[in-house]
């Protein structure tokens, strides 16, 4: 029996997916390059330049002013951050509980995972590197800042310790490295400026912050070179010209100043030195007041991000005793959620990857975070002031626009597919989905304000135990005519096949259900189905924000599982619905679930590997593109199992869409949008179908009954004028495998 579905939080262990290859560890570059440079030069130049060195405060009087300013600057930075932290501390210690040892511990559980992420994602900026242009740009700036900081610090240290390190060839190597990284920094800044000027993404428009930070940094680097050039011009070039070659940029600058008289040059040097130093201190103060704070906050957020599966939503414990449901006020957010708002660097990656935004619908995750951030600045600070003055938290805030419905519009919250593309893309590890769902919770449970379609879905869930309003089918319609081929669950079998609502109530999905049954029978798997008694596991209610209804439905289903002997560590539940899969695997443990969970693609892959299902080679040649379901792929890291099944079917050629795996685009159904009316320029499923059609594949394969439906309806509009035979065909992996691996007589079961 598979253990691939054992609950846990580390990514690879939960599933059979493999890693998609190593990425460059960016951290290594700034650390090794300078050291290598210094060693190289010291080796090459040992003989000639034994005395090379320079003074720390060449040509500068009153340099102590600098040391006086230093604590002041640190104070300014700390003041900014501490002031901000008062807003963060308005939030709840954890999502809905009290400050307990437990809740504190939850921020530090899985320490190795968190530390790994801190190093790789925070320090190594793993995600920034995904986009080559921005990756190189960011790497240039970051490495330059780190190296120049170290270089400056080293020079100062060297000056104050009795032994001289920076002398002779070592000094020259040092100069060269400093010069190179100064230049690298300038290149990075130029790239960043060009990025904003030449190809600003629609999602982000640069603001004063961008220009101040970039302009400031550019100025620092340039003045640094001017100061160096003037020092070389006035003290080095004539006396020890061979030293100056090791500061190539400074040397060029010195040549440009060569006509300037030494005395005048010394004056200019002093001026620029002070501009450079005061500028550096002012610039670094931005750390407490602008998005430059990501230098510190981004690694912190990499550490603080939840270690649970990304598709998991947190439970509202003791929901009946809560004073509010979900988030309608800043202080209802967790501290982490408020903190996160300040980490956002407005890079737009989340929005660029958001299916709703791509389809021209009214949602941009970046703007949600940014609008909340502005609100936290304006209103959060006033709440803090109220607290300080002993007023009620909301004193004098009655006229403010409400946060939910005002600052963040209802239609934005409803357009979210909870697909996690934003979370996956965010270089500073912001988790948009829980924040969006928390606000939905307040819309649904607190205010009962929702689109009619959502209300209808929730009412159907309440009354009929499934979300498919108006279905002509019953739970067992799919097995009409093959009842005797569907084994009833007895509690003795290894696997329970949980059909789910879609597999039961939607005719297209019933075909998938029958395929799965037929494959399980073909492979002689010991399984059963709970006939007639299944009910929804609550996923749609939960994603739609109705946590209470979710808990009622989940309790009901767990009770059924308890009564029928499913809720047992030795039993495994098979689902073909990734939404059921995610809920059972990641969310049901909170409700007391003990059983194992496996997605049909995982099981089918094992059965093919074990030779219990043998795809035949007599089918026609076909090209297939695989569409990743968000709840299987991004949320649960199952990318390869379905692909490997397809690869093992002879005559199948797999073609990838440009957006695949972690970067896969949602079909549009997630987050309850399966049951909603879409608003906006186009529909998400049409965008995705166009991408599939563009690959030239004959069929699109997926592993989710929602995706199949979304594709089918998207094809209806995208390929309106295409002959039926030439239209894209849509199949579940199980259907494709059934056609290839189940002999004819069996295939109706």
């Amino acid at each position: 029996m598979t253990k691939s579905a054992v609950k846990s939080d580390s990514d690879k262990r939960r599933t059979g997916a493999t890693s998609t290859g190593k990425r460059v560890s960016a951290l290594a570059i700034p650390a090794w390059l300078p050291l290598g440079g210094i060693l190289l030069v010291s080796g090459a130049e040992t003989v000639r330049v034994t005395g090379a060195h320079r003074e720390l405060f060449f040509n500068i009087d009153h340099f102590w002013v600098l040391y006086m300013l230093l604590p002041f600057v640190i104070g300014i930075i700390l003041y900014g951050l501490v002031r901000r932290s008062r807003v963060w501390r308005l939030g709840q210690p954890i999502v809905s509980g009290q400050i307990t040892r437990e809740s504190l511990r939850s921020a530090f559980d899985d320490l190795p995972v968190r530390l790994g992420r801190l190093v790789k994602g925070g320090g190594g900026t793993e995600r920034v590197l995904r986009d080559p242009y921005s990756g190189v740009m960011h790497l240039c700036i970051m490495s330059s800042m780190i190296v120049l900081f170290l270089v400056t610090a080293l020079l100062a240290i060297d000056d104050y310790i009795p032994v001289e390190i920076l002398v002779g060839p070592r000094y020259l190597g040092y100069s060269l490295v400093a010069d190179i990284f100064g230049l690298v920094g300038i290149i990075g800044v130029a790239m960043a400026v060009a990025h904003r000027w030449v190809r600003p993404r629609t999602a982000w428009l640069p603001t004063w912050e961008d220009w101040l930070i970039l302009g400031g940094l550019g100025m620092l680097l340039i003045t640094g070179f001017i100061v160096e050039g003037l020092r070389i011009h006035t003290s080095e070039i004539d006396v020890n010209p061979e030293w100056s070659y090791w500061s190539p940029v400074g040397y060029v600058v010195a040549l440009m100043f060569s006509g300037v008289k030494i005395s005048a040059a010394l004056d200019i040097h002093t001026t620029f030195w002070w501009i450079h130093m005061i500028g550096a201190l002012s610039w670094i103060s931005l750390l407490g007041y602008s998005k430059l704070n990501h230098l510190v906050l981004a690694p912190a957020n990499a550490f603080l991000k939840r270690t649970s599966a990304p598709g998991k939503l947190d439970m509202i414990e003791n929901i009946e005793q809560q004073e509010h449901f979900g988030v309608s006020q800043l202080e209802h957010f967790s501290m982490k959620q408020l903190f996160e708002l300040d980490v956002c660097v407005r890079c737009g990656r989340c929005t660029d990857n958001c299916p709703a935004d791509i389809a021209g619908q009214p949602l941009s995750p970046m703007h949600i975070i940014q609008d909340l951030k502005s609100y936290a600045t304006a209103v959060g600070e006033r709440k803090v002031a109220n607290l300080v003055q002993g007023h009620d938290l909301n004193f004098g805030l009655d006229d403010e626009a409400p946060m939910v419905g005002g600052v963040v519009r209802d239609e934005s919250l409803w357009a979210c597919r909870t697909c996690g593309a934003c979370v996956e893309a965010c270089p500073v590890f912001i988790e948009h989905v829980p924040t969006i769902v928390d606000m939905r919770r307040s819309l649904v449970m607190e205010e009962a304000r929702m689109p009619d379609t959502v209300q209808g879905t929730l009412e159907t869930l309440e009354r009929q135990g499934h979300p498919w309003r108006g279905t002509p089918y019953t739970r067992d319609s799919w097995m009409e005519g093959i009842e005797d081929q569907v084994p009833e669950w007895t509690g003795e079998q290894d696997y329970l096949y949980f059909v789910g609502c879609t597999g039961a109530f939607v005719d297209r999905a019933q075909e998938i259900t029958r395929s799965v049954v037929s494959l399980l029978r073909e492979a002689d798997v010991s399984f059963g189905v709970i006939k007639g008694m299944e009910s929804c596991n609550g996923d749609p209610a939960r994603r739609l924000g109705h946590e209470y209804l979710y808990q009622i439905l989940a309790e009901g289903l767990i009770e059924l599982f308890n009564e029928t002997g499913v809720n047992d560590e030795q039993k495994t539940v098979i689902t073909h619905c990734p939404h059921c899969f995610n809920t059972f695997l990641n969310e049901y443990p909170d409700m007391g679930a003990k059983f194992q969970v496996i997605h049909h693609t995982q099981l089918l892959e094992q059965l093919v590997d074990a030779g219990r299902l043998v795809p035949r080679g007599d089918g026609p040649e076909q090209t297939i593109t695989y569409h990743d379901s968000c709840y299987l792929g991004r949320h649960n890291d199952i990318f390869e199992a379905p692909r490997r099944i397809l690869e093992q079917v002879p005559n199948v050629t797999l073609i990838e869409m440009p957006r695949n795996r972690e970067q896969g685009l949602c079909c549009g159904a997630g987050g309850g949008n399966m049951w909603m009316e879409e608003q906006g320029k186009s529909r998400v499923n049409e965008v995705r179908v166009e991408e599939a059609v563009a690959t030239g594949a004959e069929s699109a394969c997926t592993a989710c009954p929602f995706c199949v439906q979304m594709f089918d309806s998207g094809i209806g509009t995208v390929q309106l004028d295409v002959e039926d035979d030439d239209k894209l065909k849509v199949l579940d992996v199980a259907e494709l495998l059934q056609a290839a691996a189940v002999s004819e007589g069996q295939s109706d079961a």
Binding site: M445, E447, A448, D452, E459, P472
Partner: protein
């Protein structure tokens, strides 16, 4: 303004036909597995109308009465969760097997028992048997003016202005209070209860009233007092024949369809 709404708990009208069964012998509808009864949709709209009247008048109360078995409590609780004030459950074995007449009789007694309010509201019909008569009978029994099948209700000077749905349009009428109104689906969707209200409603007491409490004798209500006799109950079967009209082009198919319709004397 004080309003009383009479509501009924019924088998979910969204029950798929395949799950809907009747016991022809006992002449009863069998509850569908896994599908719980719900408040009749028209009645939920009636509660919505009552709540809007109360809001518009800025004062008064909305009270709920329901006659039925234990499960009728849920219809009352749902109405309370929507925002109604008090609930009254007419519950007595003696009410079993009644018809529209006995129901209306019991309701009218209960209304008199509670005090006739400014406005009495019903759904246009219960979505199970679709008779649509209880509201009108209660109006007769209490000798009140009534307007049925309404799509809009507004307060006006000293009374109520309503808009009725009629075959060829709408009919606008002024009524004095007290009066009886029945609400149609055109009125619009009822509100979805807030979770806090659902929880408060769950804790609220519902007053139970028996036939005796209402001064009714067991012989007047339930099957004993019923004036309608049921002779048989069955699910009609319908035969559907499907003919696919062939044709190479949409035009040919359309022409084929027209011919077929002509042959069937539909055109």
């Amino acid at each position: 303004m004080d309003v009383i709404v009479c509501v009924k708990q019924i088998p979910d009208p969204e029950t798929p036909a395949a799950a809907f069964k009747v016991d022809e012998q006992a002449m009863q509808v069998l509850p569908a597995q896994g599908i719980s009864p719900v408040i009749s949709p028209f009645d939920a709209q009636a509660v919505e109308a009552a709540l809007r009247i109360k809001d518009a008048s800025g004062e008064g109360s909305v009270n709920i009465i329901s006659l039925g078995p234990d499960s009728a409590r849920d219809a009352i609780k749902h109405s309370l969760a929507m925002g109604a004030d008090e609930g009254y459950h007419l519950k007595d074995d003696a009410f079993d097997g009644g018809d529209a007449w006995t129901t209306a009789l019991a309701l009218s007694k209960a209304i008199q028992h509670l005090g006739v309010p400014d406005v009495l509201i019903f759904g246009r019909q219960a979505a199970d048997w679709d008779q649509g008569t209880v509201g009108s009978i209660v109006a007769e029994l209490l000798d009140l003016p009534s307007a049925t099948v309404l799509r809009a209700v507004e307060l006006s000077d000293g009374g109520i202005t309503v808009s009725r749905v009629v075959a060829d349009g709408f009919e606008n009428i002024d009524l004095p209070t007290p009066c009886v109104l029945t609400i149609s689906n055109e009125f619009g969707d009822p509100r979805y209860p807030q979770l806090r209200q659902i929880m408060q409603a769950a804790r609220k007491q519902v007053t139970e009233l028996t036939a005796a409490d209402l001064g009714l004798d067991a012989s007047e209500v339930g099957s004993a007092g019923a004036r309608v006799q049921m002779h048989s109950l069955f699910q009609p079967t319908s035969d559907v024949e499907v003919e696919i009209i062939e044709g190479d082009t949409p035009e040919e198919k359309a022409a084929g369809l027209v011919n077929a319709l002509r042959e069937a004397k539909i055109l």
